[in-house]
Amino acid sequence: MDYSQFLAMRQEIALLVVFLLVFLYDTFMPKKALAATASFSTVLFGLFTVASFLWGNPGEVSAFAGMYQTSATCVAIKNILNVGVLIVLIQSCRWVNGEFMSIRRGEFYELLLVTLFGMYLMISARHFLVFLIGLESASLPLAAMVAFDKNRYESHEAAIKYMLTAVFSSAVFMMGLSFVYGLTGTLYFSEIALQLGNDIDPLLVVALAFVISGVGFKLSLVPFHLWTADVYQGAPTSVTSYFSVISKGAAAFAFLVILVQAFGTFYSTVWEWMLYALIILTITIGNLFAIRQTNMKRFLAFSSISQAGYIMLGVVACNAHGLESMMYYILVYIFSNLAAFGVIGAIENQTGKVLMTDYNGLSKTNPWLAFSMMLAMFSLAGIPPFAGFFSKFFIFNAAISQGSIAIYILVLIALINTIVSLYYYLLVVKAMYISPEEPQIATFRSACTERLGLWICVSGIIALGIVRFFYDSINALGAGLNAPDTITNLLNMIG
């Protein structure tokens, strides 16, 4: 066996080292030192993030007989996720350092790092067994994280709802895999594409529907979204923010890899149409249900459902430009959504209030929190000059470049929905700035970690769209590809 192939997995191995260090710290350090678990883990993860940026491009390397593959694109999406996780860790410091968490600080970080490891595997898997292990190790510890708040009833209810639906969806997903295996005799993505050829087997359509619904659950696309609002509301806010950005970003990328590499030949015949239906339903229903929410966390849950629909536009475009704009969208979405959750978390930690009516007149008592929230809402809604506008612009542009009439209609529907979403995002801004009612929340100074997290998010929201370095460097991943941007380009880019 060639042990040098472990070098291809250096990001995963480094993450595993971080996990082990946190675990050893949590297990063997004296009680006094345990109070510093949060800063220890955050700093360690920050070092890891910087290091994995510095490692640069490994080129296309495959390991373990092609089951694992890394390329410039995989490294880039992992780095994007790392940045998001780092912001989540910074924002959750105050919650972790609270009285209630004093005996379970380490566990939060350990579970979180294991789920991130699972997401890395999902991104780099080129074999369904590795993908499944990644998917499960990303979703099972998340259930334990949802149940973290032992004294709150909602936390347990959310956890059991998440757990049962997660296992159900992964059973459906595996059933689909067994059909694929029966048709082709292999579980390698590229081999499956070779074996299937161009004929449409009815069993293949069933298998694809099962596979799409299994991954669609992770992404909370609409017919499979019912768990989302309850889990977002019940879980601790730090876990919710992790849920809404990181696991969604990883699943979107992995979804694209599966559909393109294993089932790419059936794009225009089978799954393009399935995705059209899913995207229209996801964006529309997510928006309509967001309007009537009163709890901020539920509100952001439905907003994140509709955002997932926009992310899927990058998959349905099925070209290299689509993948680039999807990655950029995920990056921008991380910053905007974490800014919103940062404000919600800061207010919840201080006062325990999460209702939208509690935010009435927030600008009078806490102008900076209200300002950050406003920027986050503007960015999520896609108002220029904030980053959200550019990410939506790029992803619509990529989808349209695919060129069929059907996709023009799809993008038009998405565009109309952007206007609908503007309404409910502005409801929050209205409550904070215009509402004449007396402020519900007294003036307070949030913890320095929360302020640091918000500063990072706000500067990201402003800079990501204006400074061209960010989208230029994502765009550079697809440099040197052929002029008619087709699925072949996309395959080359994934590696």
Binding site: M163, G185, N295
Partner: protein, 103 residues
Amino acid sequence: MELTILYYLIPSLFMFCCGVYGFVTRRNMIAMLISLELMLNSVDINFVVFNRFLFPGEMEGMFFSLFAIALAAAETALAIAIIINVFRVSENIDVRDVNKMKH
């Protein structure tokens, strides 16, 4: 009588459908978990049968079902732990009562 592939696939599909039916109709969380186990195990049968009958030269399906069994065990362990927690806070594991969050 020769046992063809259908003698295995039809029971496995039946098991899967029973699991789905049980998951939708049962109101006790443990019973729902058992239904989920039925679904997961029917997947294992499918993989082994496809491997044995269609692709006897390789072992990929067998290995997949080995991993799938391990994953199913992990899922059950975690689900049971959460159910115990739910029972502690609400003295009940009927899903109709674990339904306080909705708008």
